[in-house]
Amino acid sequence: MIRTLMAATALATLASPAFAETISVAPGDGAQERLQEALILAEPGDEIVLETGRFDLTDGLSLDVDGVTVRGAGMHASVLDFSGQQGAGEGLLVTSDGVTLRDFGMENPKGDGIKSKGADDIVYQGVRVTWTNGPAATNGAYGLYPVESTGILIDGCEVSGASDAGIYVGQSSRITVRNSLASYNVAGIEIENSRKAIVERNYVTGNTGGILVFDLPGLPVKNGGEVLVRNNLVANNTTPNFAPEGNIVASVRRGTGIMVMANETVWIGQNMLYDNPTAPIMVIAYPLAFEDPEYNPYPREISIDTNQVDEGGTDPQFEGAQQLLAAFGGALPPVMWDGLEDPEMTTLMVHPDLAGWSVNLPEQGAGIESARPGPLDVGAIGQPISIEGWGAPEEMEARLK
């Protein structure tokens, strides 16, 4: 009886790949239509294989079939080249669930790189998005752009040159971003209006700001929080801000390491932060006027554990920086807080080994000219928090190669 059952199980396991097809697409003439047609005609379980070479594309691609894998021969071997893109707001749009994107590159999309919207349980592994001309305001906004989704696993990816955030996760939950390289973007990695996210073991360098955890008003999904930022190397984020005005990241100061704006329950620990000369770690309230009655502009329950940090803010991009530096003995302490808080909540807890300073703004929305800077005076971190249920669901790991 047991043997029969086992045989049945084995058959079931074998059965699904047996029906799944592998569709290979080569670069060359008609690549736009051939690749798009393959993406449309794919059935759940199918694999679309991008052969080695450069695919010259004129229009955005899209995938709307559940459970499809799109894989190439490597992030530098199979390249979707959008230098000649004429239409659509992104290079690839994914709107179906259970999709795996692996081992291909994308260059110079006119808008965003890969956007996955309402696409649950999506894996991005070994995917690269590069704007080859380096930082420029004319580059697209986001490299990897999952939004309004539950279950996002980003592993071993690379994004460079995005005029907003290299890896941007918005209005989503159950998120893991790890082992990835975000360089020469305005923001390296940004988690916005999202819940239950783990950002770990990334190398975030050459951006204006390294890792941003933001919560903004007026969006359909709000009240971001439960974000763990650990074991990242955040270094040399000193590129002048090149975001077009009007976007919230255009206000990020060059030299910001890890930045929390609003949000509830964020844990920042065991990161290495070097050469982020405005502030290695910055915690602030949303600085602008807003009308959303459900929005809380203050950071709440932000814990900063031990992190390996250099001397701190050696070249802060603020008005009055020289006086500040003189007052603090040549460098601003590594943790910067704007001093604003929700009176009902604990705002910030910092490990005693880390020094900090407060801008001591008088109220939400006040400008830096009303600052009364002083040393940071907040409590020490308490017990480690539970991260049960944070990060991409465990079963998604099985889809990694």
Binding site: D59, S62, A88, T95, A141, G170, P220, G246
Partner: protein
Amino acid sequence: MIRNLAILGAAVATLAVSAGVQALPPPKVNDTLIASDSLPKTLGNYGFFLDRGANDPAPGVVPYRLNMPLFSDGADKHRFVYVPDGQEIGIGDQGLLQFPVGSALIKTFAFGAGDSQRKIETRVLLHRADGWVALPYVWNEEQTEATLALAGKRVPVTTPWGEDISYRVPNKNQCKECHGLEGAVTPIGPKTRNLSAAWLESYLGTVPEGADTMPRWEDRAAADSTASARAYLDVNCAHCHRPGSTASNSGLDLRWETDDPHAIGINKRPVAAGRGSGGLQFDIVPGDPEASILVYRMRSGEAGVAMPELGKATVDEEGVALVERWIAGL
């Protein structure tokens, strides 16, 4: 014997059509094909039209127009609806006509005037048992056949104002980017508020409440500037910019019935506009169209900046003027 007769019958029917003989009953729309799960290769397969050039609709295929149309690079559009015999049409959310399973919406996009008009593409929306399906067909040079183009196509065309553009026929997924709502394909255009009372009277036998309230495009100069602009934004933008659709994450909701000023963009900051912001702070700045991101993006023809993202290779100058006039008066 039966088979032979059938073949003979088909041959006679074909002959009759090609010879333009009017005496025989015209071929019926292929209901089986609409209902099937196939992807028919040509538009002719459906039997929506009596002629190969898709000018004469078959019985049951009824032309209609919209008060406020979607701008598509200045294409002239020929719209038809087909509902199987004896089926009822309902009225749903926003006054959207609810066509029964087996129905089809057919829209041909053409450029050029009069006899020199050239059809570029025909898009069909088929209501099948498991939902609506959107399929694009591209016309041949001879204008005798339109063939399925699942992956879309680029076609050089000259707009009515003489601009040479690379016109984009959307791929099947891009159809859904505009026609998708809560993950399912749905018709957008035929809402009672955007259909004339006369057409509704003749087609439905009734004029529902709230029908024919959107101003007609050609009457826009005389119409109320708010009504014209809001109708334009509803038709051109709100299929994506609304809850449950492609651009829901922007928080911008441009539907006709939306009355929250922030949701329609007034003093609203962009979320993910990137360089689409044009260095501006708000979607709509009352009284100042030049400072409004909405106008900036409507005025752009550049991928990554231009709105709408799909179906637009050239700027709708008259549409921009309409929206500018409204914002200037806010």
